[in-house]
């Protein structure tokens, strides 16, 4: 039903059905009317952005070709890639949608359809949708203040200003906290007061378990009381340095979530929506355990999922969505609220094609003003890439390989580790690697490069630990990042095995890794306080030095582990 409507919604695109090798025109037939199908429905409109990672201007972002589901999640959304994704959601190959939602034919399609996202283009789309949805709210799922050079240099202020101009009404967070608790509180007090409600039911003080933020907000939309509950990333203090949020405790807390939902229903909320930074697998499990939530508008795992998953629970059902990343998509949720409850729903995850949306003048002017002081630094060309550079994927990406190669070369290390972040923009062959595009991959508040002597046993422990954060069959034990990227050392991984048994065949230069022997390992993004205070080089300095010395970056040999225990999987292509 929903899928059919989605198809109708993008009928023009589907009809186009261009073969993969067709010369896609920059503004081919499907382009002109791409956004015409977004007719309003019902009486409550909610717009959702998430995980834009501070990309103010249009960018390219290649979706993964490996996104495996653990345990019962195997082969279910969001764990579908490429053609399996197209088939499941009935998206015709060779279309704008196929390009937006999959990695297929990426270079060719990206050149044809152009860059995606950008706040000025997004703003035009938001305004257009708001015009025929009275009182519609714009919800921001977080990871908004981090991921670019200017967001790092302004401690998120550029994004705070842009989000306010875009008209964000409610927000929750994750990477926002990596500027420290005080910075988040400062923005809420100084910038958000009277404009944006920052909500997070799962953040408490670690000493007395006192609430820190409003758990939810009730907004009147078109005269209907709609509750928005916030859920910040549950594993913020574990995935990032503890010192950044020293006094805060996070976690999932689904018992408390149930109490909040019950309280909201008793207060007369006619629709209850969870603005979540749990990640889609955690949201899917939470939806089975907590009842009374109509829709979970999810983020964190960067899954661009065209249609929601419906989850049955005691109270009926909950729809679970995930709205992708890097500003590529706008989630459009239309609710028909009747007789005090949600009677019907329409949802579309709408790709934001920059060349189909005229930039909003005010937003474009703001972005220009925000970037101006940094223009010279942002625009420095460090090198030119001969190959496609991307990051996203469970195990490795060509951009990560570039960082690993730079680390090993500059730090004279046998092995390198790079974190499995899911943000980071994509560059096409022939593109300059400008300083800004390097910071897209590295702009964090704990960028220190470490060089450590590690035994083979320690290396194995680290790989097993990270693999379990990704492939534990219980979603509540997953943290939502990808596998640590490994340079130099080869290994095999069986994602279906249990912790301690997944990583095998570790080899360096054709010889098995010795558990007792020490190896020189370079890495970055350490979580310890000692690393912060050691006066270490930031990753962007190390990588920039290497890039300048290369001038032209040849195609990288991407070090992929041998994947075992999985013959074929809709989450791997």
């Amino acid at each position: 039903m929903k899928r059919r409507e989605f198809l109708q919604g993008v009928a023009a695109a589907a009809i186009a059905g261009l073969p993969v090798d067709a010369p896609l025109a920059a503004d081919s037939a499907d382009g002109a009317h791409f956004y015409d199908a977004l007719k309003p429905f019902g009486n409550v409109g909610l717009l959702h952005i998430t995980d834009c990672h501070a990309q103010l201007l249009p960018i390219r972002f290649r979706e993964p070709n490996v996104n495996l589901g653990a345990g019962a999640s195997r082969g279910r959304p969001p764990h579908l890639v490429g053609e399996a994704m197209l088939r499941h959601f009935g998206i015709a190959p060779g279309t704008r949608d196929a390009h937006a939602f999959t990695y297929l034919d990426f270079e060719h399609a990206s050149r044809a359809y152009g860059a995606m996202g950008g706040f000025a283009h997004l703003s035009t789309l938001v305004k257009r949708l708001r015009a025929d949805r009275p009182g519609a709210l714009l919800l921001d799922g977080g990871d908004t203040w981090q991921g670019s050079a200017t967001s790092l240099w302004t401690r998120g202020q550029d994004m705070v200003d842009a989000a306010k101009l875009l008209g964000v009404d409610v927000m929750t967070g994750h990477w926002e906290f990596t500027y420290g608790t005080a910075r988040v509180k400062e923005v809420i007090a100084k910038d958000f007061a009277g404009h944006v409600d920052f909500v997070a039911q799962n953040v408490r003080t670690s000493d007395f378990d006192d609430p820190v933020f409003a758990p939810y907000v009730i907004k009147q939309v078109n005269g209907i009381p709609v509750a928005i509950i916030g859920q910040a990333f549950p594993y913020t203090p574990i995935a990032h340095p503890r010192y950044l949020v020293a006094d805060l405790s996070f976690g999932i807390h689904d018992e408390r979530m149930q109490k909040v939902v019950d309280e909201l229903r008793s207060k007369g909320a006619q629709a209850v929506v969870l603005l979540s930074h749990n990640g889609m697998d955690v949201d899917l499990k939470l939806a089975t355990r907590v009842s009374g939530i109509d829709v979970i508008l999810g983020g964190h795992t960067h899954d661009g999922v065209p249609q929601p998953t419906s989850v049955a629970n005691r109270g009926g059902k909950t729809l679970v969505t995930n709205a992708g990343s890097n500003g590529k998509f706008l989630g459009v949720l239309d609710l028909d609220v009747r007789g005090g409850k949600v009677a019907d729903v329409r949802y579309r995850l709408v790709p934001v094609f920059a060349n189909l949306l005229a930039p909003d003048k005010d937003m474009a002017a703001l972005i220009e003003r925000l970037r101006k002081p940094y223009a010279a630094k942002l625009d420095e060309t460090l090198a030119v890439t001969e190959d496609l550079l991307y990051r996203r994927g469970n195990f490795n990406g060509s951009y990560d390989q570039l960082i690993l190669d730079a680390l090993m070369a500059e730090k004279n290390a046998q092995i390198a580790f790079s974190p499995g972040f899911r943000w980071g923009t994509t560059l096409l062959p022939g593109d300059p690697i400008r300083y800004e595009r390097l910071l897209d991959q590295t702009a964090i508040t704990y960028p220190y490069v470490t060089v450590t002597k590690m035994t083979g046993e320690t290396i194995k422990t680290i790989l097993e630990d990270v693999a379990d954060n990704l492939f534990n069959p219980d979603p509540y034990y997953q943290q939502g990042g990808d596998m640590v990227r490994v340079g130099g050392m080869r290994y095999a991984i069986d994602p279906t095995a249990l912790i301690g048994k997944r990583i095998t065949r570790m080899e360096l230069d054709g010889k098995p890794i010795d558990a007792k022997k020490q190896y020189t390992v370079a890495g970055w993004a350490p979580v310890s306080e000692a690393a912060r205070d050691a006066g270490l080089e930031p990753i962007w300095d190390v990588a920039a030095r290497w890039l300048r010395s290369q001038k032209t970056v040849r195609a990288r040999q991407v070090n992929m582990p041998k994947i075992e225990g999985i013959a074929s999987d809709p989450g791997m292509a």
Partner: protein, 157 residues
């Protein structure tokens, strides 16, 4: 209010606070003589030894014991919050056991008749382990278990 609570703890000092609590009748004056303390129980290094020392034999799994406010992944292995509630009639005690801790028995709570069998505490964990809530009720032992991970940290989304 919250700031006040923190202030009392900071400036009041442990001894003063305990004296106040005792004076208010919130803690028993004969605390040191509380029943149930057994050095042998807390000295056990393995699950089997701890069960033996407690006289628990082979406890039956029970759905009437529930963990609450207990993390799946610990934010800090040094202070892991644990909450346990027992719905078993005549609950006499709740014990917390951690498989992989050097000392298996982390806590033991006795419940006089008429007391709500709910506990909330914080324990230390060195590494990822199964954690067991062992309940003695009507003279018999029952158990519920869950895994709590203690990870190296980093590498998140």
């Amino acid at each position: 209010m919250n700031a006040d609570r923190r202030q009392v703890l900071k400036t009041g000092g442990g001894a003063t606070l305990l004296a106040l609590l005792a004076a208010a009748g919130w803690i028993p004056s004969a605390w040191a003589d509380a029943p149930g303390w057994s050095k042998a129980d807390f000295d056990a290094h393995t699950m089997d030894d701890a069960l033996k020392a407690l006289g628990a034999g082979k406890p039956a799994a029970s759905g009437d014991i529930a963990f609450f406010s207990t993390p799946d992944i610990a934010e800090n292995g040094g202070v892991v919050p644990i909450g346990v509630n027992s719905k078993l009639p005549n609950t006499e005690s709740i014990a917390i056991l951690v498989d992989k801790n050097p000392f298996t028995l982390a806590a033991l709570f006795d419940f006089p008749a008429g007391t709500e069998p709910t506990i909330s505490t914080r324990i230390k964990m060195r590494e990822t382990s199964n954690v067991h809530a062992l309940v003695k009720a009507g003279g018999k032992y029952f158990v519920t278990s869950k895994e709590i991970k203690v990870t190296l940290g980093g590498c998140g989304g």
